[in-house]
Symmetry: C2
Subunit: 379 residues, 2 copies
């Protein structure tokens, strides 16, 4: 294959019939058609930005890519802002809260729904919320961003439906939207949340056109449905599968189980599978068990609390989801649950797992196993 | 059920025909027969002690139970010994090496075989050995304990087939032997290494007699063979299963996959499944791949090296074993591999696992997955 790399060029139109794309040279404003044998759409996602006056102010930041991130970092170093409002309490919001708190800034977090981290259940999110409040952050739940206080070309704070919060900078963490307009205009089929519909080879419904990453859908192995989960892990896996297929090697992406992990200071948070909210939306009958334990035997230095919630299908006992919130060494244990979901394990299958034990690492019975044991009694 | 608790009593004979045991009162030296409906043998294991002159010296320590451990700890605090020789380089040897090194003692470790930690392969054990040497410990491989230097009622060092090593105390970590003589004398069937033979309910071959823990065999789910693996995790699981069955509830212990974990200072070590040595003994045809990576993205603070070795069956690609040696946050990842073994996964099944990723926790591709990918090419 020949390789032409066009930087600062943008594809503005796809013509699947003629197998070519219309390219703009963003420097010289030239336009030209480029033929393709195979086309990969890897346009990612863009931050959700409500059309509010002031949202384009210089000190209102998205943090969805390296350019944005670097811009923010430079501003933090140069302007030394002392306070920030973060709008949105998902992964980006929580991680930015940590980063700014560590810089000694006064951080307020505004979240529209009644919990942080909507990808876990409210009871688990409460534990995370507690960690932010304990560190002196202000967490405002059930508050919707209505606009910005402006002072010249800068925002001096945000206006919610409940209050005004002054701050030197504003961070937006309102989630992302697939960059799928180009595909949509070329009549390529879309899936959930306007992500590009793909099969397990990452092929779209249109001949010789592929999609991978945050712009594409993924297949959820637990609910057996297409979903849109814009995470780096999935993007990497999809990119690899698409690349192999385009390059002539067969590769299949079986799908995801919805594993994600984050932390705020010493409080870690992991999730995999479906939450109660998702289970209710999908009309599952399920049982749930939550266990509070310790990461290490209580006598061992460094032991921290860990809370594990297990969800399983009523009747069959099939594991449907696990959530973990706890101290250092908690959240990565979500991988054990992710593996159980990949394997299609029931609660019964979880009871006597041969997981590693030594006092510096864990107790003899993993809290996931204990939670499975308790949930099993409710089937 | 009535409960009589006899402490300081010892069963010295089992009569399965008459369903009774002969008990000695170790205080008063009385003997009496006690009837049973169900009998559980949970006699554990005893440290291997070669019959060498001086092995009973006051400063030669086993560390196989709480009494021994407390005795050693008190001696360390009272006598403040400055040097120790540890005989044996398995879990106990390595963990004692850490404990004594942390107390500022000069520690030498003598190991009969040509590697530390015979439960992992030599190439991986070498990484662990390196960690000990780097911390200033003396590691003597391929040296056999022949005896002790004696000074009055104390050992002043050990004599190997190659040298004499002076030390204030000696720690024995030569492995354990199932306490199964009682069962053997009652003609209860034994399994590997004279452990008591049990089925998946923990029942012995003899009516109403059960066994669990370090005295009993376990079933290895990878090799599909009975094994003797005296670890706390297995003992706990077997005890639970035996107890439930004796108490009238049905419980099955499916078996183990051979997961274990330990550490020396910042170097962690995890293993599950079969090693190359075991695979060769069992005549498996297998492929192997070893990957050196980092626990976290290289740019993230706290990232440490991690080496992962994956073994899989030639042809089928069935995962057979995984070993990990690396820095902080390495070894507990062995649970992912343990789950894969429980699920009977092939290398192919491992390629796109949805494992958790965020920079404070891991890279986008887990080294286990990368190693599986490389091993897959060798099938």
């Amino acid at each position: 294959m020949n390789m032409n790399v066009h930087t600062l060029h943008e594809v503005v139109e796809i013509s699947p019939e003629k197998q070519r794309v219309l390219v703009i040279d963003r420097k010289g404003d030239k336009r030209f058609w480029q033929d393709y044998d195979q086309l990969l759409i890897a346009t990612g996602a863009k931050p959700s930005r409500p059309p509010l006056e002031g949202i384009d102010a210089a000190n209102v930041y998205d943090v969805n890519n390296l350019v944005n991130g670097t811009k923010l970092k430079r501003a933090l170093e140069k302007d030394r802002p002392r306070s920030a409002v973060i709008v949105g309490g998902g992964y980006i919001g929580i991680e930015m809260a940590e980063a700014l708190h560590l810089r000694g800034m006064k951080v307020s977090l505004v979240q529209r729904s009644n919990q942080l981290m909507p990808s876990i259940d409210p009871d688990m999110a409460e534990l995370l919320s507690h960690a932010l409040v304990q560190q002196g952050l202000d967490v405002f739940l059930e508050e919707t961003l209505l606009g910005f206080e402006l002072k010249g070309d800068k925002a001096s704070g945000v206006i919610s439906d409940k209050q005004e919060i002054c701050a030197d900078i504003v961070i937006l963490g309102l989630g992302v939207i697939p960059n799928s307009e180009l595909a949509q205009r070329a009549h390529i089929a879309l899936g959930p949340k306007n992500s590009i519909k793909v099969d397990n080879r990452q092929q779209t419904d249109t001949k010789n056109i592929w999609a991978a990453g945050d712009c594409a859908q993924a297949f959820d192995l637990v609910s057996r449905r297409p979903v849109h989960v814009p995470l780096g892990t999935i993007a990497n896996r999809q990119g690899r599968v698409a690349g192999m297929n385009i390059g002539g090697k067969e590769a299949l992406f079986p799908g995801i189980v919805g594993t994600a992990i984050t932390k705020f200071m010493d409080t870690e948070c992991g999730r995999t599978g479906l939450t109660e909210r998702q289970l209710n939306e999908l009309d599952y009958q399920y049982v749930s068990a939550t266990v509070k334990g310790n990461t290490l035997p209580r006598y061992y230095p460094g032991s921290a609390p860990i809370t594990v919630k297990v969800l399983a299908e009523m009747g069959s006992g099939r594991l449907l989801g696990v959530q973990i919130v706890g101290g250092q060494g908690s959240a990565k244990r979500i991988d054990t649950a992710a593996m159980a979901l990949h394997a299609g394990f029931t609660l019964e299958d979880m009871l006597y797992l041969d997981l590693s034990y030594a006092p510096p690492f864990s107790g003899v019975w993993d809290p996931i196993v204990i939670a499975a044991r308790i949930a099993l009694k409710k089937l």
